[in-house]
């Protein structure tokens, strides 16, 4: 049995880019294999949105009045889309920290792989596999309880594109955090934070009734921007209206684009640099 020798990385920029892309796609493929290995994960992914829809839609929904009238469950679904979008911070953080603490990351680092491929692969796996899957499940759950997009296919597609873009951007935050904590147990401690973070917004209740200082936080929370954008684009009740709106709620689509751009501009270089840094 003769083993081939290890190929040296290409020296041309284009060749390197091709390698980086190929490496990244292998890591995306890993996510698919994992799902195949653990169908239980898929079932859990199906149950979680179901619980959210029942809990918020029927338990809270029985007592909450939507400003301007309308069905609470129609009001709620954009909020749940937003919340599920932000769970990717934790998912990617956990995945990255697990690789870092188990030594898998060390093996990647000791291999002739493109340096940027690992963070891009980790985030890409979420954006290309988990993200669309979670969104599809959530949409299914929404349709079941009576949620509908009312403004046509183009507007709905725009909303889904915004959700995935923001998910991609916040995944980079998770990737960076995972590379920094380098320990899955520490990363695990952060997971419950996603709930209060997404609740401090307009996702579940209107911000109008909150105390002023809390309201400012909620209105500038990116969860609120994406929720407002979705309500707008899907034509769901509770879409922001009025003259005294905070800027992100008056221009929710622009706000989501800006949030995404800022997060990407900060956390892509940070993550890649942290992965490349040697010394520990």
């Amino acid at each position: 049995m003769t083993a081939p020798t290890i190929p040296a990385p290409p020296s041309s920029a284009l060749g390197r880019l091709r390698w980086a892309f190929a490496d990244g796609m292998v890591l995306v493929g890993r996510e698919l294999s994992r799902l195949r290995q653990e169908p239980g994960q898929l079932i859990a992914a199906l149950i979680f949105p179901g619980i959210l829809v029942v809990l918020f839609g029927y338990v809270f929904g029985s007592a909450i009045q939507v400003p301007g009238g309308g069905d609470y469950r129609e009001y709620l679904m954009p909020g749940l889309f937003a919340m599920v979008t932000f769970t990717s911070v934790m998912a990617v953080m956990m995945a990255t920290a697990t690789d870092a603490s188990r030594g898998v990351m060390d093996r990647f680092r000791s291999m002739p792989m493109a340096r940027s491929a690992v963070p891009f692969g980790q985030v890409g796996a979420d954006t290309l596999v988990s993200g669309p899957l979670a969104l599809a499940i959530m949409v299914g759950a929404g349709l079941l309880v009576g949620w509908r997009p009312h403004h046509g296919v183009a507007a709905a597609a725009e909303a889904f594109a915004l959700l995935l873009l923001l998910r991609h951007a916040v995944s980079w935050v998770g990737c960076y955090l995972g590379l920094v904590v380098r320990d899955e147990r520490t990363a695990d401690q952060f997971v419950p934070l996603v709930l209060p973070f997404s609740m401090l917004s307009n996702a579940f209740v209107p911000t109008g009734g909150m105390p002023a200082w809390l309201r400012v936080l909620a209105e500038w929370n990116p969860v609120s921007a994406i929720t407002a954008a979705c309500r707008d684009l899907f034509g769901n009740p509770g879409a922001p209206a009025g003259d005294d709106l905070a800027w992100p709620l008056a221009h929710p689509v622009t706000a989501v684009l800006l949030w995404s751009a800022v997060l990407l501009a900060v956390f892509v270089p940070l993550s890649v640099r942290t992965y490349r840094r040697r010394g520990r």
Binding site: T5, W19, V26, E38, V104, R278
Partner: protein, 327 residues
């Protein structure tokens, strides 16, 4: 190329207040197995991490096959394999899935990666478990998978960081066999270990590391010869230990130590020799009844103890004050 395939010169690395390496030098000729031996905290893992391009040294240089590990890291990575005490495989994938993934990450074409994975699983006895998730593997199986992941492509140098720590004797034997097969194919191996028998079994040369420096090098036999042969005497009556000790001291010029069993005395001959017949006669003349008298080579454990002042299992003391480390 006459230069040794692994060269480390004056490597230094500090982590906060701890100086892991304090000017470590090492050279490993191609095609040999070098055992880096040292207690916990001696700097073995840091050395491997620097050579495998995971950590940059604070000072000093290292080259693998002529390529600098800092400046030419990509070229180094194309020539090395790394396996360690923490099996670096994806627990959620199957054994086959892991090998296929890493094969693809080594840029093997898909079909070639699959073929190589099957071949290795078959050859290293993991074919049956190949389609089970790694999280269900035993420690030995995991370690073996970790090791063969490095063999998807033949590395010029394989770094093994305590490859059998925590394994049962049978799994250790299997890992040793795998390592020997690799060496037979021409791979150079640098392995760290706390187990002297492991170094004894596998290594052509041993570098004893303590407090971040190499304190002795040589073949296992040369290291043992440095300490000289040892004379062991087992008494029938432990009460005669004191008198027997003075007899042995007179004969050898060494200082006998009492063994753990209570009736056993051992003394190093420190390069000198002694005839067993003389020992028996002198003991007899002193009225001491010996159950057993033997001459033997020292074990590596004894070599290690004499070099570092403590047994291999013990952790290194707190690093000495910094001023000592400054050259």
């Amino acid at each position: 190329m006459d230069e040794p395939i692994v060269v480390a010169e004056g490597l230094r690395k500090r982590f906060g207040a701890t100086e892991a390496l304090r000017g470590l030098d090492l050279a490993v000729p191609a095609g040999t197995v070098c055992g880096v031996l040292g207690p916990n905290g001696a700097g073995k893992t840091t050395l491997i991490r620097i050579l495998a391009t995971l950590v940059d040294p604070d000072a000093g240089r290292a080259r693998i096959a002529g390529h600098d590990v800092v400046r030419d890291a990509d070229r180094v990575r194309a020539r090395i394999g790394l396996a360690g005490q923490y099996a670096a495989v994806d627990e959620k994938l199957t054994g086959r899935g892991n090998l296929r993934m890493f094969g693809r990450l080594y840029h093997l074409p898909r079909r070639e990666a699959h073929r190589r994975a099957d071949e290795l699983l078959e050859r290293y006895g993991l074919a049956e478990a190949a389609d089970r998730q790694v999280s269900g593997y035993s420690g030995g199986m995991r370690r073996r998978l970790d090791l063969i992941t490095c063999l998807l492509l033949r590395p010029a140098v394989l770094f093994l960081d305590e490859p059998t720590t925590g394994l049962d004797p049978r799994s250790r034997g299997e890992i040793w066999d795998s390592i020997r097969e690799l060496v037979a194919e021409g791979t150079t191996v640098l392995l760290t270990t706390q187990y002297l028998d492991e170094a004894d079994q596998l290594a052509d040369d041993i570098a004893v590391v303590d407090h971040g420096r190499v304190i002795a090098t040589g073949t296992p036999d040369a290291l043992k010869a440095r300490l000289g042969d040892r004379l062991d005497v087992v008494l029938q009556d432990p009460a005669q230990l004191g008198r027997a000790a003075s007899v042995l001291a007179g004969l050898t010029g060494g200082e006998p130590s009492v063994g753990s069993e209570g009736a056993r005395l051992g003394v190093s001959l420190a390069g000198g020799t002694v005839r067993l017949a003389d020992v028996v006669r002198e003991l007899d003349r002193a009225g001491i009844a010996a159950a057993d008298v033997s001459l033997r080579r020292p074990t590596l454990d004894e070599v290690f103890l004499s070099l570092t002042g403590r047994p291999t299992g013990a952790a290194a003391d707190e690093p000495a004050p910094v001023k000592e480390a400054v050259r």
